[in-house]
């Protein structure tokens, strides 16, 4: 039942995206370097990626801090951040399985370009890197709970910004001039934009190494920051009540 509704809503969203971009393209709003079929491919793959990326394993941090149950985890011989990461991977795995029927159905509805195997390989690698960047971004957001216990507003803002600037909704190539250069320099681009642009071929094989390097830079930076925040946070853990 859950799978059925999930697939149903996804098919609807794919259909809407196709209609939207087709309408925009007939109004001649097309970005210069992206033909319509690439755009639809981009939007559909972005949607499928979001099914996996929107799983937030680190949400547990906030919940456990609020309820004070983080104490029991800290009393075990485990790295608690790694526990959150594993939990996220597990949930992601489950969602990935759910993506498969959705994928099949959306293939009936829209025609997505299927690139050469090495491009798919590069896409998957880039996606994996983006997944980790996204994990640490979520980790940092939820770690704010160490200080405020209430993180909803901040998360909402970051979510809006990242939806827009990560290339999930519109390709970053659409941003003009200076703004266009700026959005590519932001960490959000490493989450959706880089793998997607590799998929549709805007990032050519010659530029792959540079794109991966950029993702790795953000990943390292976020991971380092997360370590610092976690250390500072767990030192000031004052378990609520009890």
């Amino acid at each position: 039942m859950e799978v059925a509704t999930e697939v149903g809503s996804l098919v609807l969203r794919v259909y809407l995206l196709r209609s939207l971009w087709t309408a925009l393209y007939t109004q001649n709003l097309a970005p210069l370097n992206l033909p319509l079929h690439s755009m639809i491919t981009y939007a559909t793959v972005a949607l499928l990626m979001s099914l996996i990326l929107e799983v937030d394993g680190t949400r547990l941090i906030r919940e456990k801090l609020r309820e004070g149950t983080i104490a029991t985890d800290l009393m075990k011989p485990i790295s608690v951040p790694f526990y959150f990461f594993s939990d996220g991977i597990g949930q992601t795995g489950l969602h990935a399985v759910l993506v498969i029927p959705s994928l099949l159905f959306s293939l009936l509805l829209v025609r997505i370009d299927v690139p050469r195997p090495e491009v798919i390989g590069a896409f998957l690698l880039s996606f994996a890197l983006g997944y980790c960047v996204n994990f640490f971004l979520n980790f940092l957001m939820n770690s704010i709970a160490f200080w405020t216990l209430e993180t909803f507003a901040i998360q909402l803002i970051v979510r809006w910004v990242s939806d827009l600037l990560s290339g999930q909704v519109i390709p970053l190539t659409l941003f003009p001039g200076l703004l266009g250069r700026l959005v590519f320099a932001l960490p959000f681009a490493a989450i959706y934009s880089t793998p997607l642009l590799i998929y549709v071929g805007v990032i050519a094989p010659a530029q792959w190494a540079g794109a991966f390097a950029m993702q790795i830079v953000w990943l390292t930076l976020f991971a380092g920051l997360s370590t610092l925040v976690w250390r500072a946070g767990s030192r000031r853990v004052v378990i609520q009540g009890g």
Partner: protein, 334 residues
């Protein structure tokens, strides 16, 4: 060589001072005023391996804070702490392998999984060898009679069943030390007794060091020889339960049941506590008054149906200490 050792352990919590009222909430945001609360203030104690110690005190006395520092999840403000040769907050994970923790008010079991799956997960987390895991699981299933609900999801267990599961979960990896935080809270008398029996056996048979925090002093009387009493962050008593009773419980109560009505009963050397015409309760200090003489005096004076001598129980002694504070008992105890 003590297994647990603390010296001048201190923990001060600092929080932003709140301004009351709706506007106050806003002002609190910009306030730089802090409130300091000393939760643990100079606790020095040491435990030998294999001891079973009752760590008691009123709510907010600093018990849980001490336990959290011993488990390594709270960093002390100052002072020294060592558990099985490890400074807990400096090596939290290494320390975690040596300890087991049971909270009466919080479960470490995985809520949605069958009980036995939680155990399997803990086996993986602690890397318990299969033979050891099997041996411990079998022993605990038998001791705690868990076979009927081993496959039940934890959320469907009764409190008594869940507590038994939590005890097993805390001990699968053969910890050297176990911290029990109100393990019998909310349990019925039969379940309480089963848990106490289990604690006593683990301590006796495996030589596990146990710190027991509880408000149910029957737990302490049944299980502990030694008691550490904490109040306002200070240790006010550390020693034998018997010694505490001797020093603090100097009064006895003589209860007389008369054969026929007696108005205004009186005994020399004892104080009338209550009387309803057919029974009377006299309180006396056993250091100043011999009980046998008091009973002889009573039987000479009145026609008695029954005589009982009541000793103060631990609960009434502790209650007096909470209310009146701990002062060195008067001279008479020397």
């Amino acid at each position: 060589m003590p297994i647990i050792r603390t010296r001048d352990l201190r923990k001060v919590f600092r929080s932003v001072k709140r301004v009351p009222g709706a506007l106050g909430a806003l002002r609190t945001l910009f306030s730089r005023a802090y409130e300091e609360k000393v939760a643990v203030d100079g606790v020095t104690m040491s435990l030998e391996a294999g001891e079973l110690v009752g760590y008691i005190g009123p709510n907010g006395a600093g018990k849980s804070t001490t336990i959290k520092m011993l488990t390594g999840i709270l960093v002390p403000t100052s002072g020294e702490i060592e558990v099985a040769g490890i400074v807990p907050h400096e090596a939290r994970q290494a320390n975690a392998r040596n300890i087991g923790v049971v909270f009466g008010q919080r479960s470490q079991l995985y809520w949605d999984l069958p009980l036995v799956e939680s155990f399997e997960l803990l086996r993986a987390i602690y890397g318990i060898p299969h033979a050891q895991y099997r041996r411990n699981l079998d022993a605990f299933v038998e001791l705690l009679q868990m076979d009927e609900f081993l496959r039940t999801p934890v959320r469907q267990l009764s409190l008594g069943q869940r507590m038994r599961g939590d005890f097993a979960a805390a001990m699968l990896h053969d910890p050297k030390i176990i911290y029990l935080d109100e393990p019998t809270i909310g349990l019925d008398v039969v379940a309480k007794e089963a848990i106490r029996e289990f604690i006593a056996r683990i301590n006796a048979e495996r030589g596990t060091t146990i710190i027991l925090t509880t408000h149910d002093l029957a737990d302490v009387e049944r299980l502990c020889r030694r008691i550490v009493l904490i109040d306002h962050g200070h240790i006010v008593f550390d020693g034998d339960v018997e010694r505490l009773k001797n020093e603090y419980g100097q009064h006895r109560t003589l209860v007389l049941a008369f054969d026929g009505a007696v108005e205004h009963p009186h005994l020399d050397g004892a104080e009338l506590e209550a009387s309803d015409g057919v029974t009377a309760r006299f309180r006396f200090n056993r250091m100043q008054q011999r009980a046998d003489l008091l009973i002889r005096q009573a039987s000479e004076r009145y026609s008695l149906m029954d005589v009982t001598l009541e000793e103060p129980d631990l609960e009434s002694i502790i209650r007096r200490i909470y209310v009146e504070g701990y002062a060195q008992p008067e001279e008479a105890s020397r």
